[in-house]
Amino acid sequence: MNLWLTLAVNSVALGGLLFLLSAGFSLIFGLMRIPNLMHGSFFMLGAYFGVTFLAKGTNFWVAALASGAAMAIIGGLVERFLLRRLAGQELPQVLLTLGLSFIVSDICLMIWTGDPIQPSTPSSLQGAVQAFGIYFPIYRLVIVAVAVAVAVALWLMIDWTRLGAMIRAGVDDGPIARVIGIKVSQLFTLIFCLGAALAAFAGVMGSPILSVYPGLDIDMLPLALLVVILGGTGSLLGAFVGSFVIGFLYNFGQAMFPDLAYVILFLPMLLVLVLRPQGLFGRVVS
């Protein structure tokens, strides 16, 4: 009984992390049509930045935000100087981001060596709260709260602000949006920076749970892919629901069928692809 509850709490926490990771991926992939295969690298590099800041005694939240800001700058540079030249060419974009992800993983291995680093949970967030006779670890609840807050903020931004309206206009009909004076290229750079920052932030948030190790990027990228295939590209709601589905499947799969955990993880993707190829909440793009 208690085991299942622990698993469920862990699943929800992983779901929150996955949402932070895949929201940016979904926005970049769904809105800008850039298949960003270095999104896992953003997560891992962000986590490494975070643990470096933490090792210097920085406050946890400051470290997470600083890592996000650093990654926003790196992401912006990549978008502006490398991906921009390949606008609309999906295959070169894939190969470029894949190549960059290899470079990042090797540089991380060079700088932070191959040993996994696991920072301790921030002291103010240690311990557990009791509710309904069950103990919930505070840190995992905080992750979920942050994920929900980010989800609401993103939804408000995309659906209810002028900025969001301009982004949607740029996505739906770029040339016309440019004609009426919307700086579509700058908006896209902004989205890319935001996605990179969210991934790095998620990396720091996740580091006390997942630890940071070489190969974290390749572990996280397929999960983000799964979430987006499951939820539908470009859909925030899809990314949100998909993240928690994957979070549950990952933890319960690992516990119940450790040998086949990976297969179970991918089963819903297969179902969705066969029955509803555009994803649970995806739009059909003609």
């Binding site: 397929p222 987006v228 295939i229 993880l265």
Partner: protein, 332 residues
């Protein structure tokens, strides 16, 4: 007519060079590298059917390559004969290709790529996590190589010739595929899927068959790989392998017969040379990717020709303008 003659002469010279390679190379190390180039070329050629001719970029081909290698390796370890292992491996790779194709062909373009990537990662996960079946990270050791018609393939030279025969069979069959009406219809689905549908072709089925062909040859390469190394581990099934073979295809030039072979030679030689000096093969691989995409998107071979022409023109212009300014000072 002379073009055809030159072509025939080049093919004849290349054939003779390949057939006599162990005699003029001599050193076993280099013969082994030649074998590696040949089976990686088979793998790259198989991926090129999809990437070049069908316009479908797969990042899950290491999974197909690996499943053939693993099936053969596990059966051999289980005490089965070589013939059983090879045919079972081909059957396994075909069955897996059917599943891969049904799922990934729900989509084209970037969707196809993402789905094949995810499917490839499933196979990696099985190879890595299902330790009771695949021996996990420790991999599978193959203790013997087959001896077709009583010829033992343990020496580098004999294995080279066996690989060469398979390689030539694959090259000839792919050349026939490309020239056949079916090959033309595959290219048609790449360039004009709607028009092909309107003409009454079953686009999905054509892509499906192209996928199976590609998977089958990838499986052949996987079997050669496992017999060459006599070992297979989850590393082989990882995304990095898919990326490497894709690099072979695009660096040599897609949709050509020679491109993937040249690409395989370039990547294998580079990997061996780089690994001899530094441990940073991943870094080098990434930099090559970024450089190719940024500077010569059409592939290494045509790209370097173009860049060298450009460089020559720049050099010539500068030189000739320098001569001109010396001869006649332009009026102010």
């Amino acid at each position: 007519m002379s073009g055809r003659l030159i072509r025939a002469a080049v093919i004849a010279i290349a054939g003779i060079a390949l057939a006599t390679l162990p005699f003029w190379v001599g050193n076993a190390y280099y013969i082994n590298i030649a074998s590696q180039i040949l089976f990686w070329a088979v793998f790259a050629l198989s991926l090129n059917i999809l990437v070049g001719y069908a316009g479908l970029v797969s990042l899950g081909h290491a999974g197909l390559f690996g499943i053939a290698g693993y099936t053969a390796g596990l059966l051999l370890e289980g005490g089965h004969g070589h013939l059983t292992a090879i045919f079972a491996a081909l059957a396994a790779v075909l069955a897996t290709s059917v599943i891969f194709a049904i799922l990934s062909l729900r989509s084209t373009g970037i969707g196809f790529l993402m789905i094949t990537l995810a499917l490839g990662q499933i196979l990696w996960g099985i190879a890595y996590r299902w330790a009771t079946l695949t021996n996990g990270d420790n991999g599978v050791v193959v203790r013997s190589r087959p001896a077709p018609f009583g010829i033992v393939l343990t020496s580098p030279t004999s294995f080279y010739y066996a690989t060469l025969i398979v390689f030539l069979l694959v090259v000839v069959s792919i050349a026939m595929f490309v020239r056949s009406p079916f090959g033309a219809s595959v290219r048609g689905t790449r360039d004009q899927p709607r028009r092909m549908t309107a003409l009454g072709y079953h686009v999905w089925l054509i892509r499906f068959i192209a996928f199976l062909l590609s998977g089958l040859w990838a499986g052949v390469a996987g079997i050669l790989f496992v017999y060459y190394n006599q070992f297979i581990s989850p590393q082989v099934v990882a995304l990095q392998t898919s990326a490497e073979v894709l690099l072979m295809v695009i660096s040599g030039g897609t949709a050509t017969l020679l491109g993937p072979i040249a690409g395989a030679a370039i990547v294998v030689i580079m990997k061996n040379v780089v690994s001899a000096y530094i441990e940073r093969w991943n870094l080098v691989l990434g930099i090559i990717f970024v450089a190719i995409i940024s500077f010569m998107p059409e592939g290494l071979v045509p790209g370097s020709v173009r860049l060298s022409k450009m460089g020559w023109r720049l050099f010539r212009d500068r030189y000739s303008s320098a001569v001109l300014s010396n001869v006649a000072e332009p009026p102010p």
